[in-house]
């Protein structure tokens, strides 16, 4: 499943399960952190926190499989 398909599944599933969220996060591009601003730690941290709170940033990196 590519990221756009995962995103569509996420978008079209109200109150979706953690499985769908996790699938989406795992499909995020590997180079997600390449820019400090637009694609920085906020995204991975934000997405990961909502799934696995409490979590440290180092763990968040693992979740999105850099």
């Amino acid at each position: 499943m590519n990221i756009l398909t995962a995103f569509e599944e996420l978008s079209l599933t109200p109150f979706c399960s953690d499985e769908i969220k996790e699938n989406f996060i795992r499909n995020l591009p590997r180079d997600i952190s390449r820019d400090s601003f637009l694609k920085g730690d906020q995204l991975s941290l934000r997405a990961s926190l909502s799934l696995c709170e409490p979590i440290k940033f180092a763990d968040a990196v693992d979740v999105v499989s850099f």
């Binding site: 978008s11 969220k21 400090s36 601003f37 637009l38 694609k39 906020q42 926190l49």
Partner: protein
């Protein structure tokens, strides 16, 4: 994204974009006939104002070569997105037909996530550095939304909140609010189904908090205004 915006992106001869997450970037690249990322220009300048000026120039430049150009900014295209608005105004002056399609801003997300209705007692929305530099006067009986708290006193790109700036900022707000007034550091979610971030703290504890570039500070009304009886009478509402 609305269906109308989607249609514009798919039909445009060229799509210029500045987005803050990778999925939308991927979506644009897949669906646009021809796409160009403005992030390269954005990050080429250490001062954000210079970057915005260059982006405006780039938009006007490509208009000379393409009939139908679509420009995408994350959030709402005229909310904290100066280059788009500047480009629209300049393009109109040279006779180019223009159209701005509204979208969901961080403030819209905040209203939903914090369950706030700006209509109940008014709402003042202001940029953090602007509030401090121009000593804007907040209405303590209204909702106060302070944008870009994580970029306070910072004209560049780096996400560094200067301690001195934040201390100055909090000191200013304490002229209006009590130090134990509960405020919210808010971050909208990038994606549906993923939670937003809501951190409630006392105003006095704002200094030293982890604040990101996408954080917005929400200060709830502190005191209620009393209705002016004379005005009510004149309006026939008493």
């Amino acid at each position: 994204m609305t269906k109308e915006a989607e249609a514009h992106i798919k039909k445009a001869d060229l799509v210029l974009f500045l987005v803050n997450e990778p999925v939308m970037e991927e979506w644009i690249i897949v669906h646009a006939k021809n796409a160009q990322n403005l992030a390269t220009i954005y990050f080429s300048q250490s001062n954000r104002a210079d970057a915005y000026r260059l982006i405006t120039e780039e938009i006007l430049l490509v208009l000379e070569h393409y009939d139908f150009v679509c420009v995408i900014f994350y959030g709402h295209p005229t909310v904290f997105a100066r280059p788009g608005l500047d480009a629209i105004k300049k393009a109109k002056k040279i006779g180019v037909e223009t159209k701005i399609l509204p979208a969901v801003s961080a403030e819209d997300c905040l209203f939903a996530d914090l369950e706030i209705d700006p209509g109940d007692c008014g709402c003042y929305s202001v940029e953090a550095t602007d509030l401090l530099v121009y000593q804007r006067l907040p209405d303590i009986s209204s909702h106060l939304i302070i944008w870009q708290i994580g970029m306070l006193g910072n004209l560049g790109h780096e996400s560094i909140v200067k301690l001195e700036a934040m201390e100055l900022f909090v000191k200013y707000l304490l002229d209006f609010y009590s130090d134990d007034h509960l405020v919210v550091l808010y971050e909208a979610s990038f994606y549906p189904g993923i939670d937003c971030s809501i951190k409630k703290i006392m105003l006095k504890d704002l200094v030293g908090q982890r604040i990101s570039r996408i954080s917005t500070l929400y200060i709830p009304p502190w005191k209620k205004n009393k209705a002016n009886l004379l005005v009510l009478k004149k309006l026939g509402l008493s």
